[in-house]
Symmetry: C2
């Protein structure tokens, strides 16, 4: 399958320059960028981009996709009640088929904001892999010793199975839910898995003040340091949230090339705090962006995340310069790809994976075209996303989906799962 | 013209309940809400809402629409440089025809996020009135002694002219730009105009700390108090921004039924600060929401404003309950209508003005339909707005505009104005 995207503006994300030209996709990779595309034909499809913008798809570097069934439940409750009274009583009744059905609702939403890859963490790894593959979304799965994975072998096998083929849509990474849910045995086993696989390591870390205080009580040190001292970052990785890292921990992230995956909308919704984005950025730490799960956000929208993060930067900034808008686009694309090991899906270039989105510049929020890059960050919206291509396939175009199933069937299956979990939690089954 | 909107969910905003039924629009007003619409026919148009949501349009209670030409200029500069090096050198070359052309780009954008009424403040009142009338958007214009208005008579005549007919799309209110741009003579003249018209009074107030400090130096009191002491709030009104009100001033707002028009996105973009929304809400002050101008926001999107405001509330909340999501919808609709004197456009009810939007609930960000109200605030996006009706006319539907001009012509005129102002500012004309 060869697709020509002609008459486009192109933001490769290698730098902040926008070039005019065409882009050729051959199967799942970019074959050409420039103005002399004729020799790459014939094409199965030619798309006139009408001077709209092509750029790399967004990387959602922290998600719990299937939690979509919990969206809008107990919204105005506190995190503790929300987790213990609403989430956990339902999650304990989850079966793999639920996760398969629910993931797809989140995937549909990802496409609408141009998210082409997710770093997803939830129950039932094989079913998560199957839903991502069936749907066609690039997915890095975090595997931990919870959620049905009970042996070192299983963890190591998952790592090998999903990382065997570097072109496969689904890959795997070793992790932990968090310090506060892991006993010393689980930490030791995870360390073993990391030594056997050389996997990077990711986990929730320093999301709330209470978590940090608890870890200091348990281990006499804050959680990122504790995990570091236990050797879990031996092959890199990073932390989700990192709202409350100590200066020493932030320096560990910088020195060991670890990624902070910030989730500004989730941290706001759950009142966890404002990430010190300005400090982390000025330290030169790799910062990626995640939506977190739909139960704690509640939308799955990279434009909202970038905007909130940029707002926090401005409100934190004293004498420094504001972080340039282009840097937030980098966090949402290149830095996320780096965190997720998607070295072939970071920028638009020849031989890179064809994970590409098209931004409608003719919408009024982009007018006039004084500065496309700052427009994207400060005025952009998923309303502007008119094409989402993953692995060379256009899955979303002008508000319509091009997937194997009907939207109605996806919603029906998700609603059935939602209803059953609701009843089960209330002992009504 | 009679339009039937059938098979809908309806959030009237009289309370947080969602009813199922149909809504009949007769010319510019709502004729019926219920399930027994047959006797109201025949209809010129019947729309099957497919169980999507009808609700009142959003009221943008503070805007400078025509500043759209400054969007994306000097984005990463400080407010002072931005204002004095970028905005003012261009604005001094504005002619009325520019404002006419530029307003329309902003109006197009308002429709995409379901904004049906604006409280607009900029140069050239007659041209602002004409652009709003020609386009068909409900507009309350703030008139001040700047920007070409040089006599008391002119101000009073504007008030009488635009407020004569309570059904007219364009109305008028007396104001000032701000304390820091008004000398004592201008304050006195404004007070005279207010006494002659009994107009409510609105102005920028306590947007930045520097402004408050300056006012204390000039007048030994902060600006809202200064304006109050000068009798400008004799017939009500309120302030735009109000980020840094003293407790005494906030109490003045409460006691005199004044409105705080908060502009959270602008205050973040320009690093003015975080509005103490939780405090103001708990005091029972009427809070409305404005986007401010596209040069300082940079988008004109009520969903973004509501979300940022809700995020600030959560991050500010200590032991109190979070402000319920419904209250943010109220700020964006009912409270804005109250501030703008649009008593007939606040909620959906029989005989109310037909300023109605339709929200697509079938988009994945609304799924599952666990809680439509919280979904709107926390996951909603202008992507969900599939119809915007103002004064009984559908101006935007399924991403297409139904207006008297082509979008291309509107952009062309705005681009020409933008280009000329740019050149004039650089002495290149």
């Amino acid at each position: 399958m060869k697709i020509l995207l002609k008459n486009a503006r192109i933001l490769t994300m290698k730098n902040d320059q926008i070039i005019e030209g065409s882009l050729v996709v051959n199967n799942n990779r970019i074959a050409y960028i420039g103005n002399d595309y004729q020799s790459y034909g014939p094409f199965d499809r030619e798309i006139d981009c009408k001077k709209n913008l092509l750029m790399p798809g967004f990387k959602n570097a922290h998600a719990h996709s299937a939690m979509v069934f919990l969206r809008g439940k107990a919204d105005d409750e506190r995190q503790h009640e929300w987790l213990f009274n609403t989430c956990l009583p339902r999650e304990e009744h989850l079966i793999p088929e639920d996760v398969y059905a629910l993931n797809k609702v989140a995937y549909l939403e990802y496409l609408t904001s141009g998210i082409t890859a997710i770093f997803d963490y939830y129950f039932f790894i094989p079913m998560m892999a199957k839903s991502a593959e069936d749907f066609g979304i690039r997915s890095l799965l975090l595997g931990t010793y919870e959620h049905g994975v009970t042996s070192l072998e299983q963890e190591v096998n998952n790592y090998r199975k999903y990382n065997e083929n570097k072109d496969s849509l689904v890959r795997f990474c070793v992790g932990l839910h968090s310090e506060y849910t892991a006993d010393e045995n689980r930490v030791a086993k995870t360390k073993e898995a990391i030594e056997m696989t050389h996997s990077p390591f990711f986990t929730h870390v320093s999301e709330t003040k209470g978590e940090v205080e608890g870890c200091i009580q348990r281990h006499n040190m804050p959680p990122a340091k504790y995990l570091y001292e236990n050797g879990l970052f031996a092959y890199g990785g990073g932390g989700y949230h990192c709202v409350h890292l100590t200066d020493e921990e932030a320096q560990l992230f910088k020195d060991h090339n670890l990624t902070i995956v910030t989730c500004p909308c989730s941290n706001a919704k759950l009142a966890s705090g404002i990430v010190p984005i300005t400090k982390y950025y000025n330290m030169g730490i790799n910062i990626a962006i995640g939506t977190d799960g739909p139960a704690s956000n509640n939308g799955l929208d990279m434009f909202k995340e970038m905007y909130l993060l940029a707002s926090f930067n401005r409100l934190q900034t004293q004498d420094e310069k504001f972080i340039p808008a282009f840097e937030f686009l980098k966090m949402a694309t290149v830095n996320g790809a780096k965190a997720m090991g998607l070295n072939d899906a970071d920028v638009l270039d020849v031989n890179k994976l064809a994970d590409i989105i098209m931004i409608d510049l003719s919408k009024p929020n982009m007018q006039p075209l004084n500065n496309i890059v700052t427009n994207l960050v400060y005025a952009g919206s998923k309303d502007n996303v008119i094409m989402t291509m993953i692995n060379g396939k256009i899955l979303y175009e002008n508000g319509k989906y091009n997937i194997n199933e009907s939207i109605e069937d996806i919603y029906k299956a998700a609603d059935a799962a939602n209803e059953r979990l609701e009843k089960a939690a209330k002992n009504e089954l």
